[in-house]
Amino acid sequence: MMSETALEQKSGSTSWLLADSPKNAFQAKCQRVYIGWMAFRSNPIAMLGLAIVLFLCLVALFAPLIAGGDGTTQDLANRLAPPSAEHWFGTDELGRDIFARIVWGSRVTLYIIFLVSIIVMPIGLIIGTTAGLLGGVVDATLMRITDIFLAFPRLILALAFVAVLGPGLENAVLAIALTTWSPYARLARAETLTLRNSEYIMAAQIMGASRIRVLFAHIMPMCLSSTIVRLTLDMAGIILTAAGLGFLGLGAQPPLAEWGAMIASGRDYLLDQWWVPTIPGIAILVVSLGFNLLGDGLRDVLDPRSSGGH
């Protein structure tokens, strides 16, 4: 925390955020976020990760304005053109502007990430914390199911799911989510086991809190931060798995611009027209890196032992 004198020199909103005694619950929550943000801001690598992720979001949001086309317009007379002022990243084998396709592809990538997150986090958290809190037969059953999912290689299981459900973006997302949740359940269970016997959980039980209340109001908030960190660190893997499914023709279907599918269709031209598969490869690399760096930074800020431990 900052010293008193430094506090007084700050402007109105900052002093509100750093006030010694918050006036209401909203201010207390804001203060917590702000202090976490100050810690995050002091880590330049994490800020770089955040910048990349925010950039991805902005590109996806303003894709129609940035791309200058829908990325599916073919121009066979101008196929496999090298990068130029007109086509910044060149054109592919059907004469489509690669820059436009990369920009539109960012939407697909974000869509995959968003869907996988909202499926994986609740499933992993609920299964893990329930198993950890209830113990006994429930724990054994849930954890053996988790073990089964953990035992399969991720891409192979995803392939099997897609083979059953049929190729397509939604099915690819579902397949990735179904193969990704198991480590989260393990993580949440391990944290729940350490929390279960803590005195604040006992205090909640003594005051008459039901198991559901203990689970959702006391244990889950403590497991949430490590899950978020794990998810951001896994994002790179999720993007790569999605790209892998796209590469194998089981993810997004043409003409939808998806980075993995773009690499797949461009691999024949790698030697003579290197930009066709390389540019989407770089896009995947940069976004994966961005999420990894963000995850590393978040881990430092969200770790309950460093932010609220003492």
Binding site: M202, I206, G208, R213, M222, G308, G309
Partner: protein, 258 residues
């Protein structure tokens, strides 16, 4: 008010079975403050945890105001007995403000006027309204223990169980917390059972003291006996000698009591 007969708790099974508490009998009158002392592992905290229902596999009978307690408690019966824990750093949820912590028991028991009750109880434990929206990591150890006491008191229980409430605090804060507890007992007519390994702390607050060793009560002594050291059992005498400060000659005479 509290009547415990033949309380026994066994942990584990087969060869690793340990009887943590054996045949404990206690009677505490309404408004009395009763102490349990003993070394680590003597089973004193286990007795409290059985009373509040954290451990449900105990044997014997526990009666509160004549009502025998069952292994499974109803939510409304929780109101009558609350507990304050040893470690103020571990007994408050790190992600919840003081207000969240104090409001929760009121929400569970469906009590109205939550804001008034929270402010009133904070005042009673000597914390101003400026502490209401702080997180535990913004409080000192003594302030945290005051919040923990407020949380125990907010349901207006008749019995409060104190599990070494001062042992994690430094000496000057210990005295403040003990004085607060003793004042609260007078104003609310509370019945206390306090567990400690520190005879001085127990002697400050309690009028009768049970000495536990290896899961059994070896002796019950009065305040005067505690002051004068006029005790019957060898283990009690040893504990009493230890509380008089470090003495190498006395230390050499100490032995294990099985």
């Amino acid at each position: 008010m509290i009547d415990i007969e033949n309380l026994g708790i066994v942990f584990g099974s087969g060869k690793s079975q340990i009887a943590a508490v054996k045949n404990v009998n206690l009677q505490v009158a309404e408004g009395e403050s009763y102490g349990i002392v003993g070394e680590s592992g003597s089973g004193k905290s286990t007795v409290l945890r059985a009373m509040v229902g954290i451990y449900s596999h105990w044997t014997g009978t526990i009666r509160i105001a004549g009502e025998p307690l069952k292994a499974k408690r109803s939510v409304s019966s929780r109101k009558h007995m609350q507990m304050v824990f040893q470690d103020p750093y571990g007994s408050l949820h790190p992600r919840r403000t003081v207000d969240d912590t104090l409001s929760e028991p009121l929400i569970i028991h469906g009590l109205k006027n939550r804001e008034d009750r929270v402010l009133k109880i904070l005042k009673e434990v000597g914390l101003g309204p400026e502490f209401r929206f702080r997180y535990p990591h913004q409080l000192s150890g003594g302030q945290r223990q005051r919040v923990a006491i407020a949380r125990a008191l907010i349901l207006e229980p008749r019995v409060i169980l104190l599990d070494e409430p001062t042992s994690a605090l430094d000496v000057s804060v210990q005295a403040e917390i003990l004085n607060l507890l003793s004042a609260l007992r007078k104003t609310h007519g509370l019945t206390y059972i306090m567990v400690s390994h520190d005879l001085a702390v127990v002697g400050h607050l309690c009028s009768r003291i049970a000495v536990m060793n290896r899961g059994e009560v070896v002796e019950e002594m009065s305040e005067e006996q505690m002051r004068s050291g006029d005790v019957q059992h060898d283990y009690t005498r040893q504990l009493w000698t230890a509380s008089q400060g470090y003495d190498r000659a006395a230390l050499e005479t100490f032995k294990e009591f099985a």
